[in-house]
Symmetry: C2
Subunit: 245 residues, 2 copies
Amino acid sequence: MHFTSEQRLDDGVLEREFTFGEIPGILWTPGSASASAPAPLILLGHPGGLPRMYPRLAARARHAASDGFAAATIELPGSGDRPRDAAAEQARADLRRALQAGESVSDDIVDRLVLPLVDKAVPEWQALLDALLSLPEIGGPVGYSGGVISIGTRLAVVEPRISVAVLFAGSFVPRAIFEEAREVTIPLHVLLQWDDEGNDRQSALNLFDAFGSKEKTLHANMGGHTGVPQFAGEAAARFFTRHLS
Amino acid sequence: MHFTSEQRLDDGVLEREFTFGEIPGILWTPGSASASAPAPLILLGHPGGLPRMYPRLAARARHAASDGFAAATIELPGSGDRPRDAAAEQARADLRRALQAGESVSDDIVDRLVLPLVDKAVPEWQALLDALLSLPEIGGPVGYSGGVISIGTRLAVVEPRISVAVLFAGSFVPRAIFEEAREVTIPLHVLLQWDDEGNDRQSALNLFDAFGSKEKTLHANMGGHTGVPQFAGEAAARFFTRHLS
């Protein structure tokens, strides 16, 4: 992990860009963070494309920092400046074609689009966790926040250092991930935008139902994909505070 | 409205039982309430049977009082000490028979069970509102909290003094109420117990979908009918504070 830039934001949050191998990423730590009191960590998931996602990620990170949490994210495989994968690009083209033709998206397309992404991204986030938890200003426990919900689901199953997750419903979910969801046992807080046109609502409800966790909460709100109301963001923040503080 | 008893609870809340015509009811006002600062009001809905429901209603009322709200409730038609209605009793017997036989409950039974109850209860709650808002210690705005969700839905449509509602999904809903739900425009916060055995989850989701409100939020949690987690109760309280304070 190699820090490439550092700036102190107006609310005292320290924002550092880094490269992790070839992968770009960003780490935010609270202004109050010190070696004597390492901060719990929230991994910020997103759909890929750090430059495009930066404003929303930074806003989530600053909110987390105001609650005393560090936050970090990395670019997804095949997004932003990272090399494209021919098979994933083909699956994306097939998806676009199906959507434009008004066809339902086949399980085959969803599998080809999402499963290789999950297979590649999850070990990267786990390695990132090794690196972040070796920093003196970051302690634990660790939460995962955001989409891609299939990545969050797999991480919740395979990574024991992640103790809670806020998951954003709203992307295509392969059948295999529904099976993995039954193995999730950590507390979950799932956000669903009820009228998100790009989202299969019934699939999101089925996935929520499949999660094996004893404590799981679904918060459904009106508004489109990026229209999560402020009060819903605050409720998700309270979930992290309740479990990580 | 005739007060029949009065006691000061240990947290300073004033609890007064009353009769409203022939209908028994309870009013709770915050210890801090005074004529100079009349309290907003929350009407506490319930499935009927005040003596049985008292512990849970009192807990909700004391929580509301700690947020600065008055709270009031009355017995439902045909419940508690109020006279039974032969047609409603017949519908209830038919419901019990269908459930015991493992049959699906017909629309006809639901209509006969719920619609006359809504028709009778809603004007009673509206008249109660007249009486309560004439008390110097109660001002407004007014929220409705609880079940029966069909009563809350009808009230939200026909009673302009009710400005927000927390609705508990979990009872049989007549087809006509789904139509009325489309006319609801006030902010709604709907609580759904995901694994409530006595509840038709899909019907609850359909009703949430039908509400016409621009701001509506669904909070689904694990646990049975009476197992609403403490954090979910607190989230509902914050909804009232956000809108009524």
